[in-house]
Structures are given as structure tokens and as C-alpha cells.
């Protein structure tokens, strides 16, 4: 029998209910695994030793009362928040405990995890590879079974891309579905907290817990998501899946492309109707994104002056300083109209692309499917000195943030690794949906997951630890 840390969230809840193991045993099992694996992958910056509740790993950009929260930055290396983010309060109501704060790119700025001011997170599938980012530790922790689920935040792909590169499920909800109160912001108009999980069902359950109105976030709508898996069917029954041609052009690794095409075939087998669509303004999305994000960053970082909390500004990393400067320039008098105002217009066009594609009156699609990342996980250090190359790894994910729509990444196969001796690296399938229609993307994801079971694959690093464990214990582990 498997180690109990391989169980999904829904399975874990069921097992506890049936008294197959206690919360204490559950926490012990995870803490033990963390002690062995975390030093190899750096997914946690801080570990909390609990014995009660179901453990969740929380991105270190999300405030936890009384637990140091650094956002992956040295400037906050002494910051202990006096309050909880709303999502944390909501999880605590569900008997969830914080098992640790996860590593991330500094202030969520980065796409590889390497911008963490403390140490880079390493990919459990290949320790020479990046995890993607910025929610690097949250994705790696789930891939390595170091927590039942985790929370990340996604501004341009920071949940979906590391989930894809680490072979786990990552959900970015509709903007306004989940309260941002207590999330250290990168770009306030794009940031959204979401779950990283071992299954699609788990993502839906966590979304149910953390979504809904919050009087402390004026942009958070009174729109709670309800977890109703009983309505999900194994077949897709003529559901219309749009394949944007712009997501399959130059820059997409042919090996990744092959895996995605295979996944689309699978959806067809599940009786989805596949249609090619166009999102014509996708090509401008990246440029607009890298005006809007630094602009908001330059303002959001203003409070980190070392007067009321935290350390001095000399503690900020390169990427943070780069974005502060870019944004300060873009908002300067005389430049605003050419940069920020124009980027805002492009943002509207990107949004309209999706509205047209989804328009039910114009025969629109139900979901849009494509790759999450143009490549699988790359080598640590490979792109760190080339910010533009790094920015391009967000090319398929940022549009969803600009448009405010939900998107999910789920495991859809493997591509052979480029480094010798390693077998394979996970590829993620992205499913995008209409605003407030997480239900449909989760339903499609669930049908695909049940038909393929890619989500049950484990990195060798983890299965090796597990088999050692069970040998030591004489196969008496688990339940």
C-alpha cells in the first residue's frame, strides 16, 4: 500500500473520516517526508510542526499571522505579519493547518523560482531543472508529496506554469473569485490566489473553501464557487473545445506540441467537439503585460521603505529593481499615454478576443485548450541572465490574467528530458474558461484526468524515498 502522503485531499478527508489514520499520523508522515526531501528541492522556507488539521503549504507571499512571511525577499526576512490573509482564515475554518511557507520568486516576480532571495527551488522530476514560478515551492511541494495541497498566486501564470513544469494541477480562478486581502501584491489588477493540488477534484474543493465575498477586498465578488463533482461526467458530450492557432506557432517546443496534440485527441475521444479558433491580439499580450505589471509593481513596492516593517531597500533583488524602474518610467508624465494607456487598450482587446471566442450567440466555444508553457522545465541558471527569454515563458498564460478569466493546468504527459540520465519531464495542458465558469474547465479537466491518470505519476526522487520507507517499515506503512 502507498504512503499516506500520496493520497489526494478528497481521499485524505475520507480516510480520516473512516479513521484509517489520525490527523497526528498524517502530519507526522508529511513532516517526515519534508525532513528528507525538502533539503533536496528547497520547496519550503519555513516549516510549521503541527499535529492537528490537514496540512496545506502556503506560498510565502500570503500572510500568515504570527508566521514569518517573506515573499521570497530579504527585505521581509524579519517580517511576522500581525494578521492573516482572508484565504488563510477561510482554510482554518475547514480544519486546515499551515505546514509551511513555500519558496517563491521574490515578490512573485519571476518564472523559474530562481529569483527567490534565499535559494532556488529544484524540480522534483530532475534536480538540475527549474520548477517554474513564481509559485515554485508550492508546485514542487505537491509534486514531491510534501503537503496535501498548496496555495499559490498567479499574476501571469505563476500557478499554472510551475504546476505544468512539476506535473501537478494548478488553478487560477477568475479575477475577483478569491479575496486578495493579505496577499502581498505584485500587480493588483492581475493577481489571483489559487490552489495547487494532486487532482482536479482537489482544486475544485479548495476553490470552494477559499472563494466568495470578502468585505476587505473591494474587487472580490459575492460569487462563491460550489464544489459539485456529482454533476461531472466521464464523457464531454459535444462540449466545444477551441484550439487557438496562435498558441501553436513559433517558439513552442515540438516535443511539447506533440504531447498537447495527443491530449487534444484524447478530448476528441471523450466526445468533445474540437474547433480551431483565433485570439488575434495574443501577440501583443506579452508587451502589454510587461507595461502594466511593472507600473503596478512600481507603486505597490512604495511601502517597502523600511520605516514601519522590514529592512531597507538595498535588500531588494535585481528583478524587483528592474520592474520598479520600468514601471516608474512607464507612468512618468509625458510617457503615460504611450505606455500605460496604450497597454490598457491592448488589455481590452485581449479581453474582447476571449469574449468573442466564448460568445454563445456567435457559436462560441465552451473552453479553450492549449499548452501552458512553450517548453518543459529548463536547466537551473539557463535563462536567469536573460530576462526577455524568461518573460517569453509566460506567453501562453498571461492572456488569462489580462482578461480576468480562469485557467487550469493539469498533467498531460511527458517529454524526454534533455539532460542525460534523466528520463522525462512533465507537460501541462491548459484549459481556459469564461469569466466565472471554473465549473466547465474543472469538468473537462476531471474527464481528461479520469481517462488518462497522468496525475498519478510520481517523480523518481519521491518514489525512491517511498520504497525506502516501506522497506524500513516492513511494508507496514500507510493504512
Amino acid at each position: 500500500m502507498n504512503d499516506i502522503t500520496t493520497l489526494t485531499l478528497t481521499e485524505t478527508i475520507e480516510a480520516i473520516k473512516q479513521k484509517k489514520f489520525s490527523e497526528e499520523e498524517l502530519n507526522k508522515a508529511y513532516l517526515k517526508k519534508i525532513a528528507i526531501i525538502n533539503p533536496k528541492i528547497n520547496s519550503f522556507l519555513k516549516i510549521q510542526k503541527n499535529s492537528r488539521g490537514i496540512p496545506a503549504a502556503i506560498k510565502d507571499a500570503i500572510l500568515t499571522k504570527g508566521i514569518k512571511t517573506t515573499a521570497g525577499s530579504k527585505i521581509l526576512s524579519n517580517f511576522v505579519p500581525p494578521y492573516n490573509a482572508t484565504v488563510i482564515d477561510k482554510l482554518l475554518e475547514q480544519n486546515i493547518s499551515v505546514i509551511g511557507k513555500t519558496n517563491c520568486d521574490e515578490f512573485a516576480m519571476g518564472g523559474s523560482g530562481e529569483n527567490s532571495a534565499f535559494r532556488p527551488t529544484k524540480n522534483p522530476w530532475d534536480l538540475n531543472k527549474v520548477t517554474g514560478g513564481s509559485s515554485s515551492g508550492s508546485a514542487a511541494a505537491i509534486a514531491a508529496d510534501l503537503s496535501v495541497f498548496s496555495l499559490g498566486s498567479d499574476t501571469g501564470g505563476s500557478i499554472r506554469q510551475p504546476a505544468s513544469l512539476c506535473g501537478v494541477v494548478g488553478l487560477k480562478p477568475t479575477y475577483g473569485r478569491v479575496s486578495r486581502y493579505g496577499l502581498i501584491p505584485m500587480a493588483s489588477s492581475l493577481d489571483q490566489i489559487g490552489p495547487i493540488t494532486k487532482s482536479v477534484e482537489d482544486a475544485a474543493l479548495v476553490l470552494d473553501w477559499i472563494s466568495g465575498a470578502d468585505s476587505l477586498d473591494a474587487n472580490c465578488k459575492d460569487a462563491k464557487f460550489s464544489f459539485t463533482p456529482s454533476r461531472w461526467e466521464p464523457k464531454l458530450n459535444g462540449l466545444k473545445v477551441g484550439i487557438p492557432k496562435e498558441y501553436f506557432g513559433e517558439g513552442l517546443d515540438p516535443k511539447v506540441k506533440a504531447v498537447i496534440e495527443e491530449a487534444i485527441k484524447k478530448l476528441e475521444e471523450l466526445e468533445a467537439e474540437i474547433v480551431e479558433i483565433s485570439l488575434p491580439h495574443s501577440q501583443y499580450a506579452l508587451a502589454a503585460y510587461y507595461i502594466i505589471v511593472p507600473s503596478e509593481v512600481s507603486s505597490n513596492m512604495g511601502r517597502f521603505d523600511g520605516i514601519r516593517f522590514g529592512l531597507g531597500r538595498e535588500n531588494l533583488g535585481q528583478e524587483v529593481k528592474r520592474r520598479i524602474m520600468l514601471g516608474t518610467f512607464a507612468l512618468s508624465s509625458g510617457y503615460y499615454d504611450d505606455y500605460y494607456a496604450k497597454a490598457a487598450k491592448v488589455r481590452t482587446l485581449v479581453k474582447q478576443d476571449f469574449e468573442k471566442a466564448f460568445d454563445p450567440l456567435a457559436g462560441g466555444v465552451d473552453v479553450i485548450v492549449g499548452p501552458v508553457s512553450p517548453t518543459t522545465a529548463w536547466n537551473l541558471g539557463e535563462k536567469i541572465d536573460d530576462p526577455l527569454k524568461m518573460y517569453l515563458s509566460d506567453i501562453y498564460t498571461i492572456s488569462a490574467n489580462l482578461a480576468g478569466i480562469p485557467g487550469i493546468s493539469l498533467p498531460c504527459g511527458f517529454s524526454p528530458s534533455t539532460s542525460s540520465g534523466q528520463a522525462r519531464l512533465p507537460v501541462g495542458l491548459q484549459i481556459l474558461g469564461k469569466q466565472w465558469d471554473e465549473e466547465t474547465i474543472l469538468r473537462v479537466g476531471f474527464a481528461y484526468e479520469q481517462a488518462t491518470k497522468w496525475h498519478l505519476q510520481e517523480p523518481e526522487l519521491v518514489s525512491r524515498v517511498e520504497s525506502q520507507e516501506s522497506r524500513q517499515k516492513g511494508n507496514k506503512t500507510g493504512f
Binding site: 500570503i62 500572510l63 512571511t69 515573499a71 521581509l76 517580517f79 505579519p81 500581525p82 494578521y83 490573509a85 486578495r180 486581502y181 493579505g182 496577499l183 502581498i184 501584491p185 500587480a187 493588483s188 489588477s189 468585505s215 476587505l216 477586498d217 473591494a218 474587487n219 507600473s295 503596478e296 512600481s298 507603486s299 513596492m301 512604495g302 511601502r303 517597502f304 521603505d305 520605516i307 514601519r308 516593517f309 516608474t328 507612468l331 512618468s332 508624465s333 503615460y336 500605460y340
Partner: protein
């Protein structure tokens, strides 16, 4: 060459709402223990988000409506970015491109008694900063004031003399108090003035290509003095052939002169952009409509004053005096109402209240009418004189006093009689009885 001043005013007024603009902390900060009215939002802690106080928005709309502004159906908050230790977020949430109230006007009186219409560019909503205290090499910050709602009212450069400026500022202060949106106390900083001053040759239509901003001046008197000084300074400079440029100046009361605070080169670039943490402000989404806000507003001081002249036939000076505060105006109207029943006309009431400097806190409106009646009947109505007469009656009739104290209360009639006799009947016997009874108790 003859020059004329071109003056525009920016007035900040701190609203007296219960809670702050973007959080639920108490906005009543004056004299409170430092940093006790604070939370993650007004301290600018990481992850904290603003939330709009609708009561403040209603107050801003009231001010806008009173100044004949149009209330924008949709407006937006923007971030004004700059660093200062009293600004915890590194930006102030304000309004810039899409203010809540736009395009109003207010009539003021100039130095020759002429009526001048001042155009109001906007009345917008924003938040206050914390307060710095400098002492002996350290600077202390109190964030109790951080996030208290402010409304900023900006005029077009329509003032041409300081009498207009003074009248405008006084009228706004009166308006804020009438509306009950602020105490508008200059010394406490509830109300703050900034003036933009430049001069141009008489006859020139275009605005001058510079303006001097006068800031941090905390009284009407100093502001007028600073503007007067600035006009003289600028004319002198232009006559010497100097070129004037954009700058910020303060007022030195000891030297009675303005001084340079910040030159054009040091001017901030505030990098305004739409506040991403707040949705667009849609007036039709408020709990109350603009119409109902309008209906809830009291009669404005200048409307009251006009009505006093037209309906009650007061002189303009009387009308203005009696509409000075809402309380005085209400007192006057109550007294007029009481007077109507006793055939005392409004002008008599007005004259009495003004001439006798009636203290509206201790006297009732009906008592004013009583006094007017007694006076017109030739009766002695002065309280001190009546008091004296009663005292004399007591001192001159010790046996009666003794009898009264033993229980023979009817002797009081004889005492009243003695006062009537002494004054030739010029007292109200009931009044004297009241005073005597009081004294003999």
C-alpha cells in the same frame, strides 16, 4: 504697466465621518493616543487593501451639489505616488482624471462690493496622511490621521483680489458647517488652503505661463497676507524684467514675506494611474440616490440669507448676520414664528437678536418675544435691574420676609406691591414674584 492678479484656490476639508476613508478605523483622531486608531490598511502593511467608505462619498456629493457641481455617474480613484514618511503606502489614493464632482460655481463678493462668480473645477475624494512631529533630532509618526477622508475643492483661476479669496474661504467654511460634513477648523487643520498666484498685464486674456503655489498656511488672515505679498513681489520682479517660474512658496509670519519651498526642478512627478485595488465608483450603486442626498441637505446659508431678505424684508447685512450659522438661523426663525402669534414682526426680532447680542445657547426663542413685548409695553425687562428691585424690596421689608419664612406666603403680594409702587407700575408682577420667590427660598 498695470498688472492684475490671477488666483486659483485649492481647499482641502477633512470630513467628520465615523470611520476612515478606506478602512474601518475611527476617523476621530484629534487628541487621541498616537497610533491607536490604526490597522493594516491605514498603516500600509503588505497585503492590505482599501475599501470605500460610502458615508464619505455621500459627504463629497453634498459638497459638490452645494457648489452647483455635476455629480459624475462614474468616477475613479487613482494613485498619487510619492515618498514621504507620513504616507505609509507610498501613494495617496486620490482622484485625478475622473473626479466625483465637476464643473460648479460659487458667487463671492470682491473688494469693491462687486459680485464675482468663481468657477469650481472639481470636488474630489481622497485621504489624509499621518502626522509627523519633529523634536530634538527625532521624528515621530502618528498614523491616527492616516486615511481620514478629505475632499479637495479646486477652483478655476477666477479670483482677482484677496477680498474674493477671503469671502470664498469663509463661505466654504460656513457651507461645511451647515452641511455638517466637517468642523472646518483651520487651526486644527480640518480645513487647509492652497493658493495658486500669478499676475498678468491688465487686458491680457491668456493665463500667465507660470504660477506660484502658496502652501502650508493655516489661517485665512495669513493666506490673504501671503497672497498680497506675493502679488507685490511678482509685479516688482516682472517690472525688473525678471522671468517668473513655477514654484511652491510658504509664508513667514515673522518676516511677513513668502519664501521658496520647492522650485520647478524639484516638482514631483506623481505618476498617477488608476487604483487597481478599487472598482470604478458608480453613483447608482450607492445605497442612496443623488436626489435623496439633495433632499437631505439643509437650506444653504446663501439661500437662507436671500430668503430672509425677500420674505422677511431684512436688510442684506441683517440677513447675512443671522444666517452666519445654522444654529443662529434656526433660532431666529423659531423666534419669528413665536413672534407671529404675538404680533411681533421679523424685523423687530432681527434687530433685537442682533442689537442685544442674544446668547442662543441660554435663551429660548420664545423668551426673545417676551422680552420684546415687555420692552414695547415700557416695562423694565433688564434682568439685572429687576434683580436689584427685588433685592431692595427684601431689604426694606424685614418683617414681611420673616412672616414669609414662617409660612405666611401671602405677604409676597405686599412686597410685589411695594416694587410696583416704586417703579410706577413699570414691572411685570409675575416676573418680580418669580425673582422674589427664588430669593426667599
Amino acid at each position: 504697466m498695470n498688472y492684475e492678479p490671477v488666483i486659483g484656490l485649492e481647499v482641502h476639508v477633512e470630513l467628520n465621518t465615523k470611520s476612515k476613508m478606506f478602512c474601518r478605523c475611527s476617523a476621530d483622531y484629534f487628541g487621541k493616543e498616537p497610533n491607536t486608531h490604526t490597522c493594516p490598511v491605514c498603516l500600509g502593511l503588505p497585503g492590505a487593501l482599501p475599501y470605500i467608505n460610502k458615508a464619505a462619498i455621500e459627504d463629497c456629493i453634498k459638497i459638490g451639489l452645494a457648489l452647483n457641481c455635476t455629480v459624475s455617474e462614474r468616477s475613479s480613484f487613482e494613485r498619487k505616488n510619492y515618498f514621504y514618511p507620513d504616507l505609509p503606502k507610498g501613494y495617496q489614493i486620490s482622484q485625478y482624471r475622473w473626479p466625483l464632482c465637476v464643473g460648479g460655481r460659487l458667487q463671492v463678493t470682491g473688494d469693491r462690493g462687486q459680485d464675482v462668480t468663481i468657477r469650481i473645477n472639481r470636488a474630489h475624494q481622497e485621504e489624509d496622511t499621518g502626522k509627523l512631529t519633529h523634536s530634538e533630532g527625532v521624528t515621530l509618526i502618528d498614523f491616527n490621521r492616516s486615511g481620514v477622508p478629505l475632499v479637495e475643492i479646486v477652483t478655476e483661476p477666477d479670483f482677482t483680489d484677496t477680498a474674493q479669496v477671503r469671502d470664498y474661504a469663509k463661505k466654504l467654511q460656513q457651507l461645511f458647517r451647515y452641511l455638517g460634513v466637517s468642523n472646518a477648523d483651520m487651526e486644527r487643520g480640518d480645513m487647509r488652503l492652497e493658493a495658486n498666484v500669478s499676475v498678468r498685464p491688465v487686458g491680457q486674456k491668456e493665463l500667465p505661463n507660470y504660477r506660484v503655489e502658496l502652501k502650508n498656511i493655516n489661517s485665512f488672515r495669513f493666506m490673504v497676507a501671503a497672497i498680497e505679498h506675493e502679488i507685490k513681489r511678482q509685479i516688482a520682479a516682472l517690472e525688473k524684467g525678471e522671468k517668473l517660474s513655477q514654484e511652491t512658496r510658504g509664508w513667514n509670519e515673522d518676516k511677513k514675506s513668502t519664501f521658496l519651498q520647492r522650485s520647478k526642478e524639484e516638482a514631483h512627478d506623481y505618476r498617477y494611474f488608476p487604483e487597481p485595488d478599487l472598482p470604478e465608483l458608480k453613483v447608482d450603486r450607492l445605497q442612496v440616490t443623488v436626489d435623496s442626498i439633495k433632499k437631505s441637505m439643509p437650506e444653504l446659508p446663501w439661500d437662507k440669507s436671500k430668503r430672509f431678505v425677500e420674505e422677511l424684508k431684512l436688510t442684506e447685512a441683517q440677513a447675512k448676520m443671522l444666517s452666519e450659522t445654522k444654529e443662529l438661523a434656526n433660532f431666529f426663525e423659531e423666534a419669528v414664528k413665536a413672534g407671529n402669534q404675538q404680533e411681533v414682526n421679523a424685523i423687530t426680532v432681527a434687530n433685537y437678536i442682533i442689537n442685544q447680542k442674544v446668547d442662543i445657547k441660554t435663551v429660548k426663542p420664545s423668551e426673545v418675544i417676551e422680552k420684546i413685548k415687555s420692552k414695547s409695553a415700557g416695562l423694565i425687562s433688564d434682568a439685572r435691574e429687576l434683580e436689584k428691585l427685588a433685592q431692595e424690596a427684601i431689604e426694606e421689608n424685614p418683617q414681611m420676609v420673616e412672616a414669609y419664612k414662617k409660612g405666611k406666603v401671602t405677604v409676597i403680594q405686599a412686597m410685589i406691591g411695594s416694587v410696583m409702587k416704586k417703579t410706577g407700575g413699570k414691572v411685570n408682577p409675575n416676573k418680580i414674584r418669580e425673582i422674589l420667590e427664588e430669593k426667599l427660598r
